[in-house]
Symmetry: C2
Subunit: 480 residues, 2 copies
């Protein structure tokens, strides 16, 4: 395929993409396929000779589309949103074409520099404390990670390195292995599974902190555990706070937890993967109060800020903490400017070496929407969640299971877990809307998250009508 | 921006991309900017109101392009190639539009299933042993990782988990901390820095194995170290072999190393990040002999197989080894089909949770090029490297520093390291071509890698003319 054919096929693809998104509602949101469905639809080996582009595009509809869960359907309410917008898609085309691998400043200065500045722009939108802004000579700054899981892991590894060094400074006879075996990290029992996984990877102990009745961690619970562990000879070194948990969008009390962490020399990382986007609205910003005590903070513009996956924004207070944990300098990656002090080599900030020019997506989205446009997007989706909440509250057969603060509604039929499991099975099977469950205080709960940019009030009304219809049928069946 | 405007802007972007790649040679390959250049060119904060698309595209040329190192210029010979092709770009547009997050089978069955099958196709192209092919009921199989660094880390963590369990089975009194402190991993002193970094992350000791005079690890060197370490009470558990090292594209002798690793219960991972693509050509396949002893194997189609970044292909012999090291199952990620045994949930195979639909790029590229087209691409680039090698060998002022097996030529001026450093500085400053150095046996060596899909013989001839001209000037200066 030469440039001339790419011009033609590329324009066809633009139309295919626009058609797909304009008519996505016509497709069932959840696919009707059995495991293994795809293998019988295509050959068992790659072709030796080239095939035609027409044949491939035909197979997109024949082979791929029947097996897609349509995350951008207005009827998709599962997990948390995956962001999508036209400006981000255009930027992504440009990113792919430039195709630079931005592991160091020299590997493409614009890739590194635009990223640092976009993280500054975004940090200012969130009113992050000055210490997280790179500016021209800050000690802190931001980086784009692939996912919140990676941000959590990077923060835990930086904290681990810092803790080992601190203990060894006080007691040079202690071996690293001995220290590692005594380190203990903490996170909420409601935290995302990736937090526990980070500790598993980092080979450190992690303890789950119980939450209050709104599923947030309070300072006194963590304090009690830290004191017991210290008395037992362990070394508390890390706390991962969550703002907007995955099950119910609950918030840990970071304004109280932060001072405790600082006092105990524990790294505080804040994972606000979903909720973070909302902090650009003044009415939600108070939930971020206490971030000034954090060592690192992360949220995913690729969830709720219209920047297509992947784009996970992470800030650290002291960039040397992160760089120090990872720095490796083979000659083939050295370059002339790196010792100037003005240069950021992002490969020291992350797990992978290679990285795409992801800040282009942020630049396009921030400028095409403006802060006001982004705020309007958040407020619209929160409004839709509130609308759904009202519908649930008005129906006495149902209950709301957690405060509806942002775009997530946790609800269930009053009754057994089995009943609610049956309801979810019916919903999934009917393929009109798509939800996933969670567990709260031992209860099986349904989560409805406002996900698609194209979800409107009518979709909420239809979804509720559909759910109540299925619930009605279910309750009828149970009566017989 | 609505769908109608996206149709218009998308088509403009397709033309912008085609123009960029068609005329890339007119741009200096390496940018003429100082660290911090970008900050003064754009505002310090995001706009409150939306801006126009025209203004943003103007800024792409004004702000971004002057700071780009053009990886797809035919005059770019640095690092290793970053793959790029039009079919992959089209597939990437589709991937972005579908925008599913494929962490589990249910999150988009097609995303998981096409990936498994594409890794089978690719594994067959490489003639991998059957045990690495998923087929319909295999124990092994493939996965797309983001980067080779992540593949290495995943393999090391799986090996660590397996080793701890094995030792604890033999001696249940041993604590995990005690075992971890005795585990020792090995890799070549020529291995990529990410291998050492994986051990740092995994908190295990890693030792560098010396290489022979062609920079490959031989069985006797590893054997000696393993025996000494075992005698000292350590537990050898992992060896990362390299096929095609970053400095000089050297090859470890895996056909001999493999049996040793198997016998010693050491996980053998093979990192063939760059060279792996060439194994689809029968003339290069013998270099992969011994892969049958490996527990995991990885290479990057996003380097040399025309699939745009990111796409790092990894195969494991026993998928349970990898899944066992990571599995976490919160309710919101569970789905009905996962216990059927037919289903792959790729989130257990990788560090991040989220993942893009990257196998679409493989599918488009494999079908549009066919195996023959991909082989032709590899052979053409190897031919260009051989052409450059001949030019160097014909000039008595220069020497070739390592065998030219694939698309990389390591060469230098006969003389001091300082002289060669000066030559590279002149090359970098002139911005006509771009190279990076490496260190081989204490010598500062220049690396010329054939990178761009658009590099032709005339670029090789021009590059050599340019290098010899600068060398001539340099040698004149040194004489005075």
């Amino acid at each position: 395929m030469d440039a001339a054919e790419f011009r033609r096929r590329g324009k066809e693809m633009v139309d295919y993409v626009a058609d797909y998104l304009e008519k996505i509602e016509e497709r069932p949101v959840y696919p009707d396929v059995e495991p293994g469905y795809l293998r019988s639809l295509i050959p068992t080996e790659a072709p030796v000779e080239p095939e035609s582009y027409e044949d491939i595009m035909k197979d997109v509809e024949r082979v791929v589309m029947p097996g897609i869960t349509h995350w951008h359907s207005p009827n998709f309410f599962a997990y948390f949103p995956a962001a999508s917008s036209y400006p981000a898609m255009l930027a992504d085309m440009l990113c792919t074409a430039i195709g630079c691998i931005g592991f160091s400043w020299a590997a493409s200065p614009a890739c590194t520099e635009l990223e640092t500045i976009m993280l500054d722009w975004l940090g200012k939108m969130l009113q992050l404390p000055e210490c997280f802004i790179a500016g021209t000579d800050g000690h802190g700054g931001g980086v784009v990670q692939g996912t919140a899981s990676e941000a959590t892991l990077v923060s835990l590894l930086a904290a681990r390195c810092k803790a080992v060094r601190r203990v060894q400074t006080l007691d040079p006879k202690k071996s690293e292995a001995e220290i590692l075996s005594k380190l203990v990290a903490y996170t909420s029992e409601q935290a995302h599974s990736s937090v526990e996984r980070a500790a598993l990877i980092g080979a450190v102990m992690m303890k789950k902190v119980p939450t209050d009745n709104l599923y947030g961690v309070r300072e006194e619970m963590l304090k009690k555990m830290v004191e017991e562990d210290k008395a037992a000879g362990l070394i508390p070194f890390y706390f991962c706070a969550t703002l907007g948990t995955t099950p119910s969008c609950a918030f840990d009390h970071i304004a109280d937890l932060g001072p405790l962490c600082n006092q105990e020399n524990m790294w505080m990382h804040i994972d606000a993967a979903y909720a973070g986007s909302a902090f650009i609205c003044p009415e939600f910003r108070p939930l971020l109060n206490g971030v000034e005590y954090a060592d690192s903070f992360n949220f995913n513009p690729h969830k709720w800020m219209l920047v297509n996956f992947d784009c996970s924004a992470m800030w650290v207070k002291k960039r040397t903490d992160i760089i120090g944990a990872f720095k490796m300098e083979p000659l083939y990656l050295k370059h002339e400017n790196q010792e100037s002090g003005l240069v950021t080599d992002y490969r020291h900030w992350q797990i992978p070496l290679g990285r795409r020019f992801r800040s282009l997506k942020m630049w396009f989205v921030f400028r095409m929407y403006g802060l006001q446009g982004l705020q309007a997007h958040i407020r619209k989706q929160v409004g839709l969640a509130k609308e759904f909440e009202s519908l649930v509250r008005a129906d006495k057969r149902f209950e709301i299971c957690a405060p509806v603060v942002m775009g997530l509604v946790c609800f269930r039929l009053k009754g057994s877990n089995e009943l609610n499991q049956s309801l979810l099975k019916k919903i999934t099977k009917s393929r009109e809307i798509h939800l996933v469950p969670c567990q709260l205080s031992g209860s099986f709960v349904l989560r409805l998250a406002i996900c698609s940019r194209s979800t409107e009030s009518r979709h909420i009304q239809q979804a509720w009508q559909h759910i109540t219809q299925l619930a009605f049928e279910l309750l009828q069946e149970h009566r017989h």
